[in-house]
């Protein structure tokens, strides 16, 4: 038994490594080649389970915006880190992810390009029960704050927020609580939690909790969710990128114009399990709409990336020591597919 175990273990490790590398083989791109007259198949990765938050993309599908561009879009649901890696290897061509993650990934050599902004405001909030008396960033000093983990938008948002008030991680007690913010806060296990502006505050209020929130976007500038592709797709199939971005941005505009209709369409088809929570989800959508718009988008159209935001984001992430290497901002994002 013992004689065989270690060689077998080693072999298994080697095989696992080989298998992990396997699918990343010669980057084939998400879409098939061939100039068949039918629609072009393309996969769009979304960084979470099917959820009403992705309504703009579901609506672009349901209203036929993708179809009108000659695209046959298939949604893939995974985590945003995984989808960025898959786009980086060329296994997928398109996904939706946060600008700060794109910057971190670029700094590690993942060849991603952000081609259309969806959120104009970084949608992260610090939430506390009203009785805790947390109203300003400075009030967080010495408090116990729950985050899902030391990764992702919630963690970056919290650290950036603390930095804006001259605080650091050591001035507060950070607790990793998984995605159990609502429970951890109501059970009193932490004094504040970090969550998504359009989710946890809505859930907590629906539970009848009196809460206070501090919005990260009121204090810090961070690039947020948008459409991401890889350098290869951008170089070799710019027309495909243009079509996908154009149709997706129409989806965003459509939800802004008719949010209730979007909910009625998306809920039964994409998230039937959530149907009993329709009223909460309606509020989630309502709270989301202003996050997708800004003065900039009023002038330059939905999807616009503000260069100042990207510069500030990169500098902030560098100060937070999250960037592995140098980042050339000209390669990170582009506005060439955004009209107006």
């Amino acid at each position: 038994m013992q004689r065989l175990t270690i060689p077998i273990l080693t072999l298994l490790i080697a095989l696992t490594i080989a298998a992990c590398g396997g699918p990343a083989a010669p980057a084939s791109g998400g879409a098939p080649a061939g100039a068949t007259p039918g629609p072009t198949k393309v996969a769009l990765a979304l960084g979470y389970i099917p959820d009403v938050q992705f309504a703009p993309f579901y609506m672009a599908q349901e209203r036929g915006f993708y179809g009108a561009e000659g695209l046959d879009v298939e949604f893939r649901h995974t985590t945003s880190t995984d989808l960025l890696k898959l786009i980086g290897t060329g296994e997928l061509s398109f996904g939706v992810a946060s600008g700060d993650e794109v910057l971190v990934a670029r700094s590690q050599g993942v060849p991603l390009v952000y081609v259309g902004a969806w959120f104009q405001k970084f949608p992260i909030s610090v939430i506390a029960l009203e009785k805790a008396g947390i109203r300003r960033v400075g009030d967080l000093k010495g408090r116990t704050i729950g985050v899902p983990g030391r990764f992702g938008a919630t963690y970056v948002g919290l650290r950036a927020l603390l930095l804006s008030a001259g605080l650091s991680e050591s001035d507060v007690q950070i607790r990793e609580i998984g995605f159990k913010q609502v429970q951890a806060l109501t059970e009193g296990q932490v004094e504040a939690v970090v969550g998504y502006t359009n989710n946890e505050p809505v859930q907590l209020r629906a539970l009848g909790q009196a809460i206070t929130t501090i919005e990260v976007f009121d204090h810090v500038t961070l690039a947020s969710n948008g459409i991401v592709t890889n350098e290869k797709t951008l170089r070799e199939r710019p027309e495909l990128v243009e079509k996908l971005v154009r149709a997706s941005l129409r989806g965003i505009e459509d939800v802004i114009a008719r949010p209730d209709e979007a909910l009625d369409t998306v809920l039964p088809k994409y998230t039937p399990e959530a149907a009993p929570r329709r009223e909460i989800l309606r509020q989630v959508v309502q709270v989301s709409l202003p996050l997708w718009q800004s003065e900039q988008t009023a002038q330059r159209g939905i999807g616009y990336s503000d260069p100042a935001v990207w510069t500030a984001s990169r500098d902030l992430l560098r100060r937070l020591n999250l960037l592995g290497g140098e980042v050339d901002l000209d390669k990170v994002y582009t506005n060439r597919f955004v009209s107006k």
Binding site: T5, I6, P7, L9, I13, P148, E176, G178, A184
Partner: protein, 287 residues
């Protein structure tokens, strides 16, 4: 059902070929077998392990060179080694490894204690086994990743839920091996001991424990490595330290070399645990 599953695992573990299966587990036969096995162990073990490790490293390096993978997909071994040294110097590595070690050791101890006591009772009392068996089977149907968030919620975010999750994973294989280890003892041996006037305690320390020990240790071997997995899963869900946390952090930073450092540390811990129990096995079963 428990004992059936246990017996088949015992056979696998022992690798008992047809030549062995006809001999019932008499003390003499076992002793002879153990000696024979030990005499053959030293040299192939000493040579194959470094060779196979070297081969694995070489294959890894070749794969990276041949397919020209970027570091975020598959980092070359020397990049991982450099990252390891960096994590070692800045204290990252030990901070996380220590947490996983503490959780898995405590989880193992807890799981082991409960499983052996319960296992002894079940082996002695078939009616009790019939009562408990459905719950044992049910407990194995629950994926750890699914109940870990619940345990975190119920027991807070400190050390306890991680230890409980590790203990939970350890519990079943040790229980099964305890039960089957005791069950496979030839009843005739027990009768002989009783005829010669052995007390209950003597029966346990002189007959049951020594004879069940090899099977029990097989369970320990599996359980020890599983404890590490259990602790890591718990950390993955919500913790501030541990290799599961390091996996999450490095993943979020797209730092694949650091991810490999965490993974290889887990592999190393499992191999170390396995080696320790194997050494213990040799020391204990030598008499």
């Amino acid at each position: 059902m428990v004992s059936a599953a246990g017996t088949s695992r015992v056979r696998e573990e022992r690798g008992g070929g047809p030549a062995r299966s006809e001999e019932r587990a008499t003390a003499q036969g076992r002793e002879r077998r153990e000696r024979r096995g030990m005499a053959r162990r030293p040299w192939p073990g000493a040579l194959t392990v470094p060779l196979s490790l070297l081969g694995g490293l070489l294959a890894w390096k070749l794969l990276v060179v041949a397919r020209d993978y970027p570091a975020f997909v598959l980092p070359a071994p020397e990049r991982v080694a450099a990252r390891f040294l960096l994590a070692l110097r800045d204290g990252t590595w030990w901070r996380h490894t220590e947490a996983t070690l503490v959780e898995s050791l405590a989880g193992f101890a807890l799981g082991f204690a409960i499983a052996t006591v319960l296992g002894y009772l079940l082996a002695k009392s078939p009616p009790l086994e019939r009562v408990v068996a459905p719950y044992l089977a049910a407990s194995q149907a629950l994926p750890v990743v699914a109940i870990a968030p619940l345990l975190l919620l119920w027991f807070g975010f400190g050390l306890l839920p991680k230890v409980l999750i590790a203990a939970l994973v350890v519990f079943f294989p040790i229980l099964i091996n305890t039960v089957s280890g005791l069950r496979q003892i030839d009843p005739a041996l027990r009768d002989v001991a009783l005829v010669f006037g052995a007390t209950r305690r003597q029966l346990f320390t002189l007959v049951e424990l020594p004879l069940a020990l090899p099977t029990l240790l097989s369970g320990v071997k599996i359980g020890f490595t599983l404890a590490i997995t259990g602790a890591t899963v718990a950390e993955f869900i919500g913790a501030d330290r541990g290799l599961g946390v390091l996996l999450n952090i490095s993943n979020g930073l797209f730092d694949t070399p650091l991810l490999f450092v965490a993974l290889l540390t887990l592999v190393g811990l499992a191999m170390l645990a396995y080696g320790l129990v194997t050494a213990l096995e040799r020391a204990l079963i030598r008499w």
